[in-house]
């Protein structure tokens, strides 16, 4: 599995090498220009410290876990050993991350110590790629292209790796119970192998000290995403979703690879420690408002990166793969498609934030892309019935928030929201997964109700409730509120992009509504349930072998009045200790992280939109990394007559509570049974249907891209069949036809052949006759031929005297 990612990177290397070679002069110029523009190259991204070698455990423990799970699969181990290995390895990686974090931040980070001097270190595993190709004067000169297997650890890396490894450990534990239905097959070990490989890839992505290693991780997480979405590989919809995710990501990866190559062409290196000091030169230009002096190539690189980020993080126009990715097992949805992998795009933007500041177009694209995605996904999420899909759309929407936050120059807000979102979205997904697991795959919110009142579902309900509060942005007591508020405040404070603030504010209201729509329908209200149809499906390796619902029939069309009948023999399967512990941990953690993302008034009074940016933990983590550069302009807009952040806070409290209230009225008070609520009586014409059909975006893509390609491929097919194959077949047909004509002469009768042979000989004799006879001489066969005369002379000589 590791090998599978390597060829990609090698091809990539060859490509980038070829491009870079041709653009060698440009690179030289650029380097010269950079050093010219920045006589005193800043310390941006420079290595300022060291880390012990055990930091390497962070990526390589999960890799070890992957190998061991593979061994388990080969040895046909059919117990929970792979889960044990995985959780142990990931917990080890988490411990190593905590250790590395302590060393990096020096213990000053927790709870807003304001320590602005976190170090950056590079830990090298081994030389990976390093070669010369120019006519170097001496072989000992520095190589022209270096991409080592080494890891760049600064506070931003730590921020990401803390929640990646931490959540991966918890979700691995959760999955040990969730995936238990597959214990009898090889699926369990396969699941965990891919799971560990994912964490390894994610570590390469986040920790790599050069763009190429980031790209390796980028492709690696894409591969693992593909493998895990298509985990139920006998289910056509899962396979289709896996392919869709992979192909959509390829479009984005194209942008990233182009950006990578351009980076090398422009800067002559892909290593962060060498790259960022060069970027500093351009950044100085940008901060002095001399945008026009920055070469266009530098400005294009972040735009290309944005394409990659939008593909990986499911933003417009490439977001359609993420909702379909919910075909994978729920732990995968929680870890990869909600908490970690999809934030890789945000990481990319945050890591290259200085470069983004050097471009006139990149950040507005990021901001508008994010804001529009947030709005669009929220509207779709409002109309869906599948709770996992609603969560998927909310993920897309929240990722939009993060991008919008970065785009309006609020790197701290964006990264903080990544951090808080990872916790509460994982929790929401895991709660939905517990419901799905317990009700035989039922995900339709019209067929489930009152889960909170059933025995054994208290912790799930609690976790779901906390998650919903966070997602809805319930004021003050949720981490999600503070991080979202930071983004909206940054947007409101940004003069040019205040419209984005309004969009995000509106979206926050929609989010609160659809979040609590799920909660009120599924967890509150009268107890009622229709089990899903997974009992029937488990025979074909579907996975969730509950052994409970033998007689359960998925009741498709009936109203709630008949539900008792339908679920007569079905007993919901309440989650076990593993799921409950994980959910409880996450619920508690989501409260514990509040101080990490909020200053609690310490620095609010600076009156500046970014005033508190240096005060609390996540701000420190972002601020002391490469994302911590000062944005070029510092004028801040007012909002509602207050500073943007204050105003945004009150506004988002209002819309959040309003959204929850609307959901309460429509889906709790106005509801008698699971299937019918007042909300269904509200007719919005075609809008509702259109939102239910995801605004027909899939259909539009089908019409705009798939159909033309299909028509084109039919044309090419016809061309191939008629012209190319036609010519080749014609060549084949010519001797064949000739043979067909001539074969009739082969009668098989001996006499025939003899006659024809005789005729042929006769013809040859006649031909020789006519050719040898001089034209006017006619038939002079009687004349003695000249050679005879000659011969007779010889003969006369030989027998002298006998004849005259």
């Amino acid at each position: 599995m590791v090998g599978a990612t390597l060829p990609i990177s090698i091809v990539e290397l060859l490509l980038s090498g070829a491009i870079a070679q041709s653009g060698h002069d440009a690179a030289g110029h650029a380097a010269a220009a950079a050093s010219h523009a920045a006589p005193a190259a800043g310390s941006l991204g420079a290595v300022t410290g060291t880390l012990p070698q055990w930091t390497l455990l962070i990526p390589f423990l999960p890799l070890l876990g992957c190998v061991l799970c593979g061994v388990c699969a080969v040895l046909k181990i059919r117990n929970k050993l792979p889960a044990l290995i995985t959780v142990a390895c990931l917990a080890g990686a988490f411990a190593a991350t905590v250790g590395a974090y302590m060393q990096t931040v020096g213990g000053s980070g927790g709870g807003g110590g304001g320590g602005h001097h976190a170090q950056a270190a590079v830990v090298k595993a081994w030389d990976w790629i390093s070669f010369h190709w120019r006519d170097n004067p001496s072989p000992s000169a520095a190589p022209d292209f270096v991409a080592n297997f080494s890891f760049y650890v600064d506070s931003l890396t730590c921020l990401w790796m803390l929640f990646v490894t931490g959540l991966a450990t918890l979700i691995g534990l959760y999955a040990s119970e969730y995936m238990a239905g597959d214990l009898k097959t090889a699926g369990y070990a396969r699941f965990y192998a891919a799971f560990c490989l994912f964490v390894f890839s994610m570590a390469c992505l986040v920790m790599g000290d050069n763009l190429l290693l980031l790209y390796l991780g980028w492709e690696g997480v894409g591969l693992c995403s593909y493998l895990l979405i298509g985990y139920f590989y006998k289910k056509p919809s899962a396979v289709a979703a896996a392919k869709k995710a992979f192909i959509m990501n390829r479009i984005g990866d194209f942008g990233l690879s182009m950006g990578l190559m351009l980076t090398y062409v422009q800067f002559g290196t892909v290593e962060y420690a060498k790259l960022f000091p060069m970027v500093q030169g351009y950044l100085d230009l940008a901060q002095h408002g001399k945008m026009s002096e920055i070469p266009w190539m530098v400005q294009v690189i972040p735009v290309l990166f944005t394409l990659g980020a939008f593909g990986k993080s499911a933003q417009l126009p490439l977001y359609v793969w993420l909702p379909d990715a919910m075909e994978g097992p729920t732990p995968v949805s929680a870890l990869i498609h909600a908490a970690t992998m999809v934030t890789a795009g945000v990481y990319l933007v945050a890591r290259f934030f200085p470069l983004y500041l050097c471009s006139e177009w990149a950040l507005p694209i990021v901001a508008w892309g994010g804001a529009l995605t947030a709005l669009l996904a929220a509207t779709i999420g409002m109309a869906q019935f599948d709770i996992k899909r609603i969560m998927a759309y909310s993920t897309v929407s929240q990722l939009g928030f993060m991008f919008a936050g970065l785009g309006v120059l609020g790197a701290v807000g964006g990264a903080s929201h990544v951090f808080t979102h990872a916790f509460f979205k994982a929790m929401l997904f895991l709660s939905c997964g517990a419901v799905m697991h317990g009700f035989a795959g039922q995900l339709d919110l019209r067929k489930l109700s009152g889960v909170a009142w059933m025995p054994g579902w208290k912790i799930v309900t609690l976790a779901m409730f906390v998650g919903c509060l966070n997602l809805a942005g319930f004021p003050f007591i949720t981490a999600g509120f503070w991080s979202k508020d930071m983004i909206i405040g940054d947007a409101m404070g940004n003069h040019g992009l205040q419209a984005i603030g309004w969009i995000l504010l509106f979206t926050a209201g929609l989010t609160a509504y659809y979040t609590f729509r799920v909660f009120f329908r599924v967890f509150a209200g009268p107890v009622e349930y229709h089990p899903g149809d997974e009992v029937h499906a488990h025979a074909d390796d579907h996975g969730h072998d509950h052994g409970h619902g033998e007689h359960a029939k998925g009741d498709e069309t009936h109203d709630g009045s008949e539900s008792r009948h339908a679920s007569e023999h079905f007993h919901p399967h309440a989650p076990g200790w593993a799921i409950n512990i994980v959910l409880l941990t996450l619920a508690i953690a989501s409260f514990l992280i509040i101080p990490l993302v909020h200053p609690f008034g310490k620095a609010e009074n600076t009156g500046d939109g970014h005033g508190h940016a240096a005060a609390f933990w996540s701000a420190t983590m972002v601020g002391s990394s490469t994302a911590g550069v000062e944005p070029p302009h510092a004028e801040h807009a007012k909002f509602l007559g207050m500073t943007a952040h204050e105003g945004a806070m009150y506004a988002s409290i209002a819309v959040g509570l309003l959204g929850i209230a609307v959901a309460f009225v429509l889906h709790y008070v106005g509801r008698r049974t699971a299937a019918v609520s007042k909300a269904d009586a509200i007719r919005l014409g075609g809008v509702q249907t259109a939102a239910q059909h995801k605004w027909y975006v899939d259909e539009l893509y089908h019409f705009l891209i798939v159909m033309p390609l299909r028509v084109l491929s039919h044309i090419f097919h016809a061309f191939d069949k008629l012209i190319v194959d036609g010519l080749v077949n014609l060549l084949g047909w010519m001797p064949r036809g000739a043979g067909h004509t001539v074969r009739r002469t082969q009668s098989g009768v001996m006499h025939d052949y003899a006659l024809r042979m005789a005729g042929g000989v006769a013809l040859i004799v006649l031909a020789i006759w006519f050719l040898n006879t001089p034209a006017g001489d006619g038939d002079d066969g009687d004349a003695q031929p000249p050679p005879a005369a000659h011969a007779s002379v010889e003969r006369a000589e030989g027998v002298e005297g006998v004849r005259p």
């Binding site: 082969q746 009668s747 098989g748 009768v749 003899a754 006659l755 005789a758 005879a788 006998v802």
Partner: protein, 117 residues
């Protein structure tokens, strides 16, 4: 030495006249054509084989005649070899005919037409 040669040559016949040669060649040609017609028109394998022998001998006659005409021994030598080989070939061919007869219980050469295209 020259005398012995001369003696040997003294009893040698006079060279053949052109007219005489023509007679021989006509006989040879007739014999060849008879053989050819026989081969083409008859279906009995043995008769066909006999006809090939006829054609062989027609060629032999022509060779001997030319040899006599030119007063050298080339043609005669050649014919001696041809006769030898023809004898061997006759043995082989007759054996083949026997085998063929065993396969089809018939001597009809036209029955062997598997090579029809």
């Amino acid at each position: 030495m020259l005398d012995t040669l001369t003696l040997a040559q003294a009893s040698a016949p006079a060279p053949m006249q052109t007219g005489t040669l023509h007679h021989y060649l006509v006989v040879s040609a007739l014999l060849f054509v008879i053989g050819l017609i026989g081969f083409v028109s008859r279906r009995n394998l043995i008769i066909m084989f006999l006809c090939t022998e006829l054609m062989f001998q027609a060629a032999g006659i022509a060779l001997i005649a030319f040899s006599r005409f030119w007063l050298n021994h080339t043609g005669e030598t050649f014919v001696i070899f041809v006769l030898t080989i023809a004898a061997a070939e006759a043995a082989l061919a007759l054996a083949l005919v026997v085998l063929l007869f065993r396969r089809k219980e018939s001597l009809d050469g036209a029955k062997w037409s598997e090579m029809r295209g």
